[in-house]
């Protein structure tokens, strides 16, 4: 056993020897899952977290099968809730820990009290951060909505708006680029914005 253990340690790669967590990397993976449903990043997250979750859960549940259920449930929540993760609000490890702790809590309650009330998310909101998460989520929707409204503008106005806001060109640059007098650019932009305001205002109601 002893030799086995030693050889195990010496065989470990440098990254395995390290007990430092690469937080930026974890965030990158989580964001990739959130934004592009990237399976490769999820697989990386799975390999990082799953064995640890399994080990932690094994101490709380009497058998391997239930510990695996915690792994599956936790990682499945990571996949489904990745868009709620906000790296400004805390580390990826904290976020995954919260999910794991909540899954464990609900499962233990189910086993001990025969209750399937899933109270954990009320007691420990997955994102305390939910408020600002929702904001950024809304922003994303807002952009999408803005784009559909812009598509409805006359072509000439679209050019100006897209150039100004999405390509961040100055009005002068646009004038040169579109080969139009500066005054025309300005008035088109003004007209477009007035229309957008009306449209967005309506859709907000």
């Amino acid at each position: 056993m002893q030799t086995n253990l030693l050889s195990k340690v010496t065989n470990a790669t440098p990254s395995k020897m390290s007990d430092k967590i690469d937080h930026p990397q974890l965030c990158k993976w989580l964001n990739a899952v959130s934004i592009s449903r990237d399976k490769k990043s999820f697989t990386e997250l799975f390999h990082f977290f799953a064995p640890k979750i399994q080990r932690i859960a094994r101490n709380k549940f009497p058998n391997e099968a239930q510990a695996s259920e915690v792994v599956q449930e936790t990682m499945s929540n990571v996949w489904r809730k990745a868009h709620l993760f906000n790296q400004d609000k805390g580390a990826a490890t904290t976020w995954v820990y919260t999910i794991m702790r909540n899954v464990t809590f609900d499962m233990l309650r189910k086993i001990k009290g025969n209750r399937e009330d899933n109270l954990s998310d009320d007691i420990w909101p997955i994102a305390e951060s939910m408020v600002s998460d929702t904001e950024s989520f809304d922003d994303h929707l807002e952009n999408k909505q803005l784009l559909t409204v812009i598509e409805k503008l006359p072509e000439v106005q679209q050019q100006v708006v897209k150039g100004f806001y999405f390509m961040e060109m100055s009005q002068e640059q646009l004038a040169v680029h579109l080969n139009l007098p500066l005054g025309t650019i300005k008035s088109r932009l003004r007209l477009a914005l007035a229309k957008l305001k009306v449209q967005l205002g309506e859709e907000h109601d």
């Binding site: 253990l5 399976k39 640890k52 580390a91 909540n102 009320d122 420990w124």
Partner: protein
């Protein structure tokens, strides 16, 4: 100002998810009203998370007496499970939708009172009245642990009593006094068998209470109340 907070050990168990739902909810509700405890909880959660997931090297050392992690890493059988588990999870396209916040209110002094988030999905039993006290059990099914919403009408009091086990009183609204002074909204008052007290509420209050044994009334005529000590907490 909130003067009574959960002890650090209790917060620790809360963060670890080791407390029953009743006490966990009590701490969560307190933290909602107490920025100080809320900050301790976030910091502790971050630390616990960090240590939970950092043990790459220790994994190998610990595995001497915990073969499960070895098993997970080494058995090709579980490797296959890993792959199929990833496939199973990522096959699903549905993402979690944030539901609009559900709000649950009860009537307090003829006004609606919004229950704290941690309590909003807990089933309440019918309210029982006894003089100026009324109580609704929160049905959590935690055996000897009883959780309730206790309402004291203005001028009401709980007769002097002690407890064989513990008694948590979390003030949700209003205030009360006992031998040790005044308690206000947000105060987290954890007592055990060594305490005796006689809470009186002049303005009325609503409390979230958790106790693992009946109250034990200690004084004079109130001793006659002992059979109904179970009523209150």
């Amino acid at each position: 100002m909130i003067k009574h907070h959960p002890k650090f050990e209790l917060i620790q168990s809360f963060v670890n998810g080791e407390l029953p739902a009743s006490l966990s909810a009590g701490i969560a509700v307190h933290a909602e009203m107490c920025p100080k405890c809320s900050q301790i909880i976030s910091q502790l959660t971050e630390q616990v998370a960090e240590t939970s997931f950092e043990i790459n090297m220790l994994d190998n050392v610990i595995s001497e007496d915990n073969r499960t992690s070895l098993k997970f890493n080494e058995l090709s059988e579980t490797e296959i499970n890993t792959e199929s588990m990833i496939d199973l999870i990522t096959d699903s396209n549905d993402t979690f939708k944030v539901e609009p916040e559900l709000v649950k209110t009860i009537t307090l002094n003829n006004k609606p009172y919004t229950l704290p988030n941690a309590l909003k999905n807990m089933p309440l039993s019918k309210t029982l009245h006894m003089g100026k006290l009324s109580r609704a059990r929160i049905q959590l099914n935690e055996n000897e642990i009883h959780t309730s919403l206790l309402k004291i009408e203005p001028g009401g009091a709980v007769p002097q009593h002690t407890h064989k086990g513990f008694e948590l009183t979390l003030l949700l609204e209003g205030s009360f006094n006992d031998e040790n002074g005044e308690y206000v909204k947000g105060d987290f008052i954890m007592l055990d068998g060594t305490h005796t007290h006689n809470p009186v509420s002049t303005e009325g209050c609503l409390c979230f209470t958790v106790a693992n044994d009946a109250l034990h009334f200690t004084k004079g005529i109130n001793k006659l109340l002992n059979p109904i000590g179970t009523f209150i907490y």
